[in-house]
């Protein structure tokens, strides 16, 4: 019997399996093992976490294949890696390495100031960032099989993630109240394909899994995003820039599962040591705001 790889169902289905889970940024084998032991559903292999990319500046690119392969060899959970926005050759390389998901990420320096990667050309699935529903639907139209709200990576400030989740959720709710003959203008206004706008209006949700990312630093942050309707969370700098990464990682995993149980959240929030120091998004110069990358 014939088998089909890389179908939309297989790509989107992979994200379905990650739901209710935490995906953690890791920069080496040791961190990847801590993440797996803490109950992460996947790791994002990268050379510098967003907080360090921010601090060190310069052009941020795809990670060294050696480093990605070492992490792949060290853990049994899925391994994701980041390609620059529009850098389809980095994506080809990552696909050839057999990573499980590519994040076309604004955390890296964009390679194309107009176009994103044509993700339909790949067998491997992609996750892309979005700040609003129009952006999410443009990415899905290009073949993204999973969306994450962007937040402001590397800050430990959850306010932008909150803004983006409210925006995506609010626009979905608004679409479902419109008359069918108003959806054409809605599609025009949000610069998104009509067919996807219509689908969201009918189903009341995105056609792919929606995670949250950017600025999540505590179990309470993770639970906040889950209560806002996220299917799961990415935690980047928040874990390994904190005082006790293993404890914080495990606590965030538990908080994501029991996001609606304040008693559990109180228990897992105890004695975690220092959270990452963080940067207020409002203090960031506009040029350093990563969420504004992507078109």
């Amino acid at each position: 019997m014939s088998q089909n790889v890389g179908t939309a169902r297989v790509k989107r289905g992979m994200a379905e399996m990650l739901k209710g889970g935490v995906i953690m940024d890791v920069v080496n084998v040791e961190q990847a093992k801590i993440a797996e032991a803490a109950g992460a559903v996947a790791v994002m292999a990268l050379e510098r976490v967003p907080a360090d990319i921010r601090a060190q500046g310069g052009v941020a690119r795809m990670s060294d294949p050696d480093m990605i392969e070492k992490i792949k060899a060290a853990v049994s959970i899925p391994v994701m890696a980041k390609a620059r926005i529009g850098h389809f050759v980095e994506a080809q390389i990552l696909q050839s390495l057999g990573v499980d998901y590519i994040d076309e990420s604004e955390v890296l320096t964009p390679a194309d100031m107009e176009n994103h990667i044509d993700k339909w050309n790949f067998t491997i699935p992609f996750v892309c960032g979005a700040t609003n529903l129009g952006e999410a639907l443009r990415r899905i139209n290009e073949g993204a099989a999973m969306i994450r709200s962007k937040g402001e990576a590397g800050t430990g400030d959850v306010s932008n993630a909150m803004t983006h989740m409210r925006s995506i959720g609010g626009e979905i709710r608004r679409l479902s109240t419109l008359r069918e003959d108003e959806l054409y203008v809605a599609a025009k206004n949000m610069q998104a394909p009509y067919d996807l706008v219509k689908e969201v209006a009918e189903t009341g949700k995105l056609p792919v899994v929606l995670f949250t990312a950017g600025g999540i630093a505590t179990p309470a942050d993770a639970a906040l995003m889950m209560q806002m309707g996220a299917d799961g969370v990415f935690i980047g700098s928040g874990i390994y820039k904190s005082g006790d990464p293993a404890a914080r990682a495990a606590a965030c995993v538990k908080a994501t599962t029991f996001f609606d149980d304040p008693k559990v959240l109180a228990d897992v929030s105890r004695g975690l040591g220092e959270a990452m120091v963080g940067i207020n998004v409002a203090d960031l110069p506009v040029a350093h705001r990563l969420a504004e990358r992507g078109w």
């Binding site: 019997m1 088998q3 790889v5 179908t7 990650l18 739901k19 889970g21 032991a37």
Partner: protein
Amino acid sequence: MRVGVLALQGDFREHLFALEECGVSASLIRRPSELAAVDALVLPGGESTAIANLARSFDLFDPLKARISAGMPVYGSCAGMILLADRVLDAAVGQETFGGLDITVRRNAFGSQVDSFETDLDFAGITNPPVRAVFIRAPWVESVGPSVEVFATFEHAVAVRQGALLATSFHPELTGDNRIHRFFIESVARPALEKAAVK
């Protein structure tokens, strides 16, 4: 019949919808008290390491293992199959399973996500049309004990049953085809529960 879906992590909502469409009373399970209130259980797709960890942390691991040993009907898809297996190859360090199924599974046996696929599959008793099976970083069954029946094969065994336990490497909950859930309820769980009631 009250059927629970273990809801610690993974695509438990898809299983919940499938069960509801089959007309049974279905609920999500995250606590021992919730487990105690159901007659049968579904273990969803997800990450088997994360699910086992969470079950351990929230005092579900041992009660669940005990219920399985005591004959509770359980269906597991993908990660759920791994969690039901007595033996796991390519496991994470220290990875535990609930066990109960006398099988050896190999995790991520078909490869990484670029090798994930869908295909038509003949599943014992469900043939017209064949089951559209979605395999996502799926395990396969490397070997089975004497009392395990193999229901479907793709390169290796990918659907097995032993008494009240059913497991598939693939994800019927992703296709909107509820025949395998229906098979679990009508042909696996209901007979097992009726037999237990007579005793």
